[in-house]
């Protein structure tokens, strides 16, 4: 809900300037929306929230702006097996992974990473030079696990 702090607004502005991207009607708001979202969201989600504030907005602009923000590494593109839509998150420069709840589709971000040694091992033993990786765990969150067990009890 609440208004965005001035400092945060400034921070987004600075980031935009650094990339050379223009500070247009919607971009700061897009960054705010992404920053406030507890989990990755789709282009259409962003579009809907922008439209609440200003009717003069088109979905293609959202896609084009997201593309620019991704290209400049202010935003990450994320896709899940669960969902045909691509989703986006603010790039917080913190390596992380996701727990994807197959009960309620909630996405939980986790910041520990168990596979750095594995990357080195693969590089060493297979001659495959690892640049990055993608790890997601699928299962039931603490809300859904009990329900799931209950409905499968007998």
């Amino acid at each position: 809900m609440g208004a965005i702090l001035l400092e945060e607004h400034q921070e987004y502005l600075v980031k935009l300037r650094q990339t050379g991207l223009k500070n247009t009607r919607h971009r700061i708001k897009m960054l705010e929306i992404l920053d406030n979202s507890p989990q990755p969201i789709s282009a259409d989600d962003i579009f809907v929230r922008l439209k609440e504030q200003d009717d003069r907005i088109s979905l293609s602009t959202v896609y084009r702006s997201l593309e620019a923000l991704v290209r400049n590494e202010l935003v990450n593109k994320v896709s899940f097996d669960n969902d045909n839509r691509t989703t986006f998150e603010l790039n917080r420069l913190q390596h992380h992974h996701f727990l994807v709840c197959i009960g309620c589709n909630k996405i939980i971000t986790v910041e520990d990473c168990p596979i750095h040694e594995y990357e080195e091992e693969v590089s060493r033993t297979r001659g495959f030079e690892v640049i990055g990786h993608k790890l997601e765990l699928y299962g039931y969150c603490s809300d859904c696990a009990p329900k799931h067990h209950f409905t499968h009890e007998h």
Copy 2:
């Protein structure tokens, strides 16, 4: 190329029967194509190869058959960040991961898995009940790594 061994053909037949799926014009061929493919392939790839042998085939049949084969766990659905198309592989009942080459798009299957303990840890510390996971490493294969280094040398 080469003809499929009779035993393999039989094996596919048995698997189909077990599921209750009918042995139709294309299904055995689909399983053969998937079995012979060194990496996951798209519905359209399968469609093209089927069409080489028999013109009376439609893409929607390929999608519908794949859906049935996936539902009956003879085939796995796999998607990569690289590619908007969904791909499919024969289900060999062997847990594995992929190395995805961002140079030539080659997909390499690897059968060791570094994160079983991590799954337990997540279950224990976060109350998230892990059912499965998805891990892919992105980078350069042994063919592409040298080229990549060469073109970025100075």
